[in-house]
Subunit: 333 residues, 2 copies
Amino acid sequence: MTVELVEVDSRAPKILIIGGGAVAIPYAWRLQKGGAEVSVVCRSNYGLVAKEGFMVNSEVYGTEVFKPNKVFSSAAEFEDDSFYDYIFVCTKTLPTIANPADEVQRFVKSDKSIIVLIQNGIGIEKPFVEHYPKNPLISAIAYVAASRKDNIINYGKLLLLEHAIYKSQAISPESGNAISNGLQKMFNKAGIDIKMYENSEKMRWRKLVINATFNPITVVAGGYRTDEILLIPEGNDLFRKAMRELLLLARIVLKEPLYDVSDEQAIDNSFKLFATNPLKTINSTLSDFLNKKPLEHEVMLKNAIEIANKHGFPVPILSTVYTLLVLLEKKNI
Amino acid sequence: MTVELVEVDSRAPKILIIGGGAVAIPYAWRLQKGGAEVSVVCRSNYGLVAKEGFMVNSEVYGTEVFKPNKVFSSAAEFEDDSFYDYIFVCTKTLPTIANPADEVQRFVKSDKSIIVLIQNGIGIEKPFVEHYPKNPLISAIAYVAASRKDNIINYGKLLLLEHAIYKSQAISPESGNAISNGLQKMFNKAGIDIKMYENSEKMRWRKLVINATFNPITVVAGGYRTDEILLIPEGNDLFRKAMRELLLLARIVLKEPLYDVSDEQAIDNSFKLFATNPLKTINSTLSDFLNKKPLEHEVMLKNAIEIANKHGFPVPILSTVYTLLVLLEKKNI
C-alpha cells in the first residue's frame, strides 16, 4: 500500500468525481489547478458541461471556465477502465431510494482506489465498508457556500475540507495515516484549507449539528434562508433548542463534548457563521425541495433519531422536524 | 335577571351573529328554523349574502336558502339600536391583531345582552369579562364539520354545541344556571345537540387537544387533510405525541384528567372521530392558510405554551409546531 502511495505522489493524481453539484465542483476545479487530473460524472447538467465545461465564479479565485479532463454522463454510460487514485463520492445520500454503495459500483474498478465520501449525515460509511472492504475509505465533510444553476457555480470565501481515514481491519493504522496525509498534501497543493481528524465520528457530528437543524427547518418553516430565520426571534430560538438536542446527543454518543466550549457558546459560534450570507445562497435541502427532488432526511435526521432512541434520549424537536419534512416531501415530489 | 329571562322565553329570542363563516351559519339557520330571529354580521361575503342569503347544504337537513332576518356588513356600518338577547361572537380570535372585545364593542348595546363566544382556543374569555363585566358571558365550543365558499355552506351530520356560563362576580350562580338553561332550551328547540358543562375550562381544553394538534400540523406538514395524515404512520405518530403533551398539560392545569378514559384511549377516540371525512373538508387553520389569512395560533398554541412554561412543563412538539406556524404565516401573508 505504501509503495502505491509513493507512486501516486510521483505522478499527477487521477481523480474521478461522482456528482457535478455545487459542493463538488469548487474542489474539482482547484484540484485540477493544483496539478491533478480531474474527471467528473454529471447527471442533470451533463449536456452543458460536456460542451462548455463549468463556469466557476469564486470570490477568491475569480471567474473561469473549468473543463474536467473527462466528463461522463452517468453510471450506465461510464466506460473507462483506467485506474483512478481517488473516487470522490459527492452525490446526495438517499438510502431509502437505493444503496449508496451499489450506485458507485461501476466506478470502483480496483481495491487500490481510495474512496472519498464528501457527504453529509451520519452512518454513511457503513454500506461502503461492507461493499468495498479492501478499498481505503476516507470520510470527509465539505464546508463550502455555493450555488449552482446548470453549469454555473457561484461560491464564496469558504472552501474547507475536513477528513479522516475510516478505520477498518483491512487498512493498518500506518497505511491509514499515509493515505490521509496523501489527500492532505494534494488539497494543500490546490490551495484548499484542510483539516484532518483522528476519528471521523466527531467531525461528522459537528457538521450534523448544523445540517440537521438549519437545513430541514428552513424548509418546514416555509422556505427561508438560514440567515433570515436567525433574525426572527422565534426562529432563532427554535434553531437553538434543536441544536441543544443534538449537542447533548453527540455528548452521549461520543462520550465527550463535541466542542471545547460550552454548548451555548458552540451554538453562538454556529449562528455567527451563518448570520451573514452575502451570496444569498440557500442550503442544499431547501434547494432540493424547491427543485422537487428527494431530500437527505435519512442520514441527516433519521439516523440521529434512531441513535437517540437506542440511548433512550428524547429528541422531540428533531423528531417533529423529521416527520414534517417527510410529509412535506411526499406532498412536494 | 330572572325576570328578563322569563320575558325572553315568552317571545322569539333575538340573536345577532358576528361572523358569517362555516361554523356559525349552520347554527344560525337551525336557530331561525327553531323560531329565533337571527341577524348576521358578515364581512368578506356580505354582498352575496345580502342579495341571496346563504345556500346551506346539510346531510341531515337538506339544501335550502337561509335568509337571515337582517344582514350587516361590518362593525363600521352597523346601525341598529334594537336589543339583542344574544350576541354570538363567531369570528376568529386574533389578539395580536386587535383586542377581540374591542372589535365587538359596537354590537353590545346593553349589559343585558348575553354574549356567547363560539370560538376555539383557551384564555379567550378574559378580554370580554374585562370589557363587559355586567354582561352574562357564555363560553361555547362548536363541533361542526363544515366548509364555506362565498355564501355556500356545506356541512355534515355533526352539529353539536358545548357551553358553560363563564363564572364571574356580577352573575349569581342561580342566574348563571338560568342563562345556560335558556340557551340550552333555544338550541334544543332548533334541534341542535347541546351539552352543558359546569365549568368552561375542561370543555375548552378538550377541544384544544384537537385544535392545537390537528389544525397546525396539517398546515406545517404541507397542506394535508387530518384524515390523510392519520393514514401516514409518521404523521399518525406525531399527532399522538403532540396530543400526549396537551393531555398531560391539561391534567396539570385542571388538577384532574381531561377524560375518564386513559390518555391513549382518548387519543384513539379523537383519531376515530377524524379518520373518515366524507365531505373532504379541511380544518379552519389550513383553510385560512390557503386563503392567505392570519392564523389563530395565539389562542390555540401560544396560550397553552405559556401555561406550560409557567408550570415548568416541557411541550417541545407544540412549541416547534407553533414557531413553524408563525414563520410560515409570515412568509404566506
